[in-house]
């Protein structure tokens, strides 16, 4: 492997480019019209234009990407996450073009990419799955019938799904028709496959997933779990490892199940087996949810706690190297948390925001890692996911990691676009989330519905004293002429003027 084309953009493209450079591998970035000066383009050795801003015409444009690979002399393709990363046809096309696809074989992607086939694979490997029904056909009537057989509350899910897209909860019979139609439509648009199936809704579950790594020589190891229960609209917001208050026996069973599931399908590459967890302590039950056959957004927490670099691992495995460590060599040390920093407005239902990053200053310091793909001056547009950066911290204990995260979030200065950092701070401050290293017996009361239930407490405005301080700054800033003040100046203000202040 000599030259890798990264078929992605943003922070993950930068992340992969860095790892390649560290391994002495040349890199080729691809870019759309919107990304000519994006950080991933500047980070790479070469950059190829693949189309207009719309992802469908650029980062999802298979012929253009394959042409870029051929023209640039790349011999391998890293798909990142999202976009084409779980597209079996793309993996197949890469293989046919003589390119190493840095991921599992196309057949494995196809199998695990269908939720129904993945469910069957998990069951045959002895891994528990959520009770559910695959509709006899994809007609609205057949799906509605499947919902009624599962009983309420039920969950309609896209067979090809991921990231919460094409997923609908139905609690009453009269919600079924609209939910079926909208789930199918969203699934069709997001995955080019509108097929759905139905599961029993596990109420107040935790989302816990296991990182696995398989090589081309039949070895599979796990790198322990991640707790991703803090979600909004089925999208993860904060992830951490180790999972708080997870009984050791349950952890052992889940990691073994993940290795069994991956081994059963001949898995190669870094991958994630997602579970939902119901109940507490030794009695908690877990069910297979799906397998993601690619690097996960939240992979950094695993890297920090296990000390293993997953992108380096992907590159080595794709190059045919047998695993260079055993399961016994993998240990958890300390605690890591990731916050996803999004351009979205917590006071307006977490709606994505657009604008320009007039000021963008990342936090730094001991135990603080930022994986980002934006820079100051850049426009945040409507074309792509509104994630700006991932802020990840590592510390000796969960309490210390929580405190470190709060300080790092406060030091993350992003101006010009509304964002969710105040929301993340409020979330970390919820008593259910803080938990202060509580004894196991006390339990952990975070589940995937927590954010929705506590939304009102998560967009609380700052107190009047802080507001007055901000208004005093505002007066001084209004008097300046450049985006960056050029020299020192001073003002003393009683900020009780009737200015219009919007705050988060």
């Amino acid at each position: 492997m000599r030259r890798v084309l990264i078929a992605n953009r943003g922070e993950i493209a930068v992340r992969v480019i860095r790892a390649c450079r560290e391994r002495g591998i040349e890199t080729v970035a691809i870019f759309s019209d919107a990304d000519r000066e994006a950080p991933h383009v500047l980070a790479a050795d070469h950059a190829m234009h693949v189309g207009p801003a719309a992802a469908s015409a650029s980062y999802l444009n298979v012929p253009a990407i394959l042409a870029a690979a051929a023209e640039s002399g790349a011999d391998a393709v890293h798909p990142g996450y999202g976009f084409l990363s779980e597209n079996a046809a793309f993996a197949e096309a890469c293989a046919n073009a003589g390119l190493i696809f840095i991921g599992p074989p196309a057949s494995v992607i196809a199998r695990m990419g269908s939720k129904t086939a993945a469910r069957a694979a998990a069951m045959s490997a002895g891994v528990p799955v959520v009770p559910g029904v695959v509709p006899a056909s994809q007609s609205p009537a057949a799906i509605a019938d499947a919902v009624r057989r599962v009983g309420f509350p039920a969950l309609i899910k896209a067979a090809a799904g991921g990231g919460g897209k094409g997923m609908r909860i139905v609690r009453r019979d009269d919600e079924v028709a609209e939910a079926v139609e909208s789930a199918s439509r969203e699934a069709a648009r997001a995955f080019a496959d509108g097929a759905v199936y139905v599961e029993r809704l596990i109420d107040r579950p935790r989302h816990i997933e296991v990182q696995v790594l398989g090589d081309r020589h039949g070895h599979v190891v796990h790198l322990f779990e991640r707790d991703c229960s803090l979600q909004r609209r089925h999208q993860k917001v904060i992830e951490e490892t180790p999972a708080p208050s997870l009984a050791p026996s349950v952890r052992a069973a889940m990691t073994a199940a993940a290795v069994a599931a991956a081994g059963a399908v001949g898995y190669v590459n870094a991958g994630t087996v997602e579970f939902i967890l119901e109940g507490h302590g030794e009695d908690a039950r877990f069910y297979f949810l799906e397998m993601n056959t690619r690097l996960q957004v939240e992979h950094p927490v695993t890297e920090l706690v296990t000390g293993r670099d997953l992108v380096h691992a992907q590159l080595r495995v794709a190059d045919g190297e047998p695993l260079w460590f055993t399961q016994a060599d993998v240990t958890q040390r300390g605690h890591a948390i990731e916050c996803r920093v999004y351009a979205e407005d917590a006071s307006r239902g977490l709606l994505p925001q657009t604008g320009r990053l007039i000021r963008y200053v990342e936090p730094s310091g001991p135990g603080v890692r930022v994986d980002s793909g934006v820079r100051e001056g850049q426009a945040v547009g409507v074309d792509y996911d509104p994630m700006l950066a991932k802020l990840i911290v590592h510390a000796e204990t969960r309490d210390a990691a929580m405190a470190r995260m709060a300080e790092a979030l406060k030091a993350f200065a992003i101006l010009g676009v509304r964002h969710n950092v105040p929301f993340l701070l409020a979330l970390l401050n919820l008593s259910e989330v803080r938990m202060q290293d509580a004894p196991e017996a006390q339990g952990y009361h975070v589940d995937t519905g927590l954010i929705e239930r506590r939304l009102a407490d998560l967009s609380a405005p700052p107190d009047d004293t802080l507001r007055a301080a901000a208004e005093a700054v505002g007066k001084l800033v209004q008097g300046t002429h450049a985006p960056r003040a050029q020299g020192p100046a001073g003002v003393t203000g009683r900020a009780d003027d009737p200015w219009v202040t919007i705050a988060w």
Partner: protein, 131 residues
Amino acid sequence: MVTPREWHVTALADGRYRVEDGARVMTAHAVRDGGTAWIWLDGHLFEITPPASTRARAPHDDDALMPQMSAKVIRVLVAAGQTVASGDLLVVLEAMKMELPIRAPRAGVVKTLRCAEGDLVQPGTPVLDMQ
């Protein structure tokens, strides 16, 4: 009500501001963007507009009929003249790969439709008018 309290603010060389009131010292990041000052202070984001440049506008039910961002209309479920109940789904938008439902903020009648499927709509403009 803003607590009247003396804050002293000093601009530093790199766009930071030192904010102090004798007891507490904080550092803010702030920039001006047109008439708006963006301020990051103690984990809170402020957008401040001076009184002169403010256009008074009372909050309005029909805010619910405006998209919060540029979006594409993917479905229109009502027609002009149609009577709707509070909460009825009127239009479905899509932006950043997500569906954004526009629902009736109250019971009423659709007066004018201002969009069609496939249109791109902008924030601040209602997708339809209600009577």
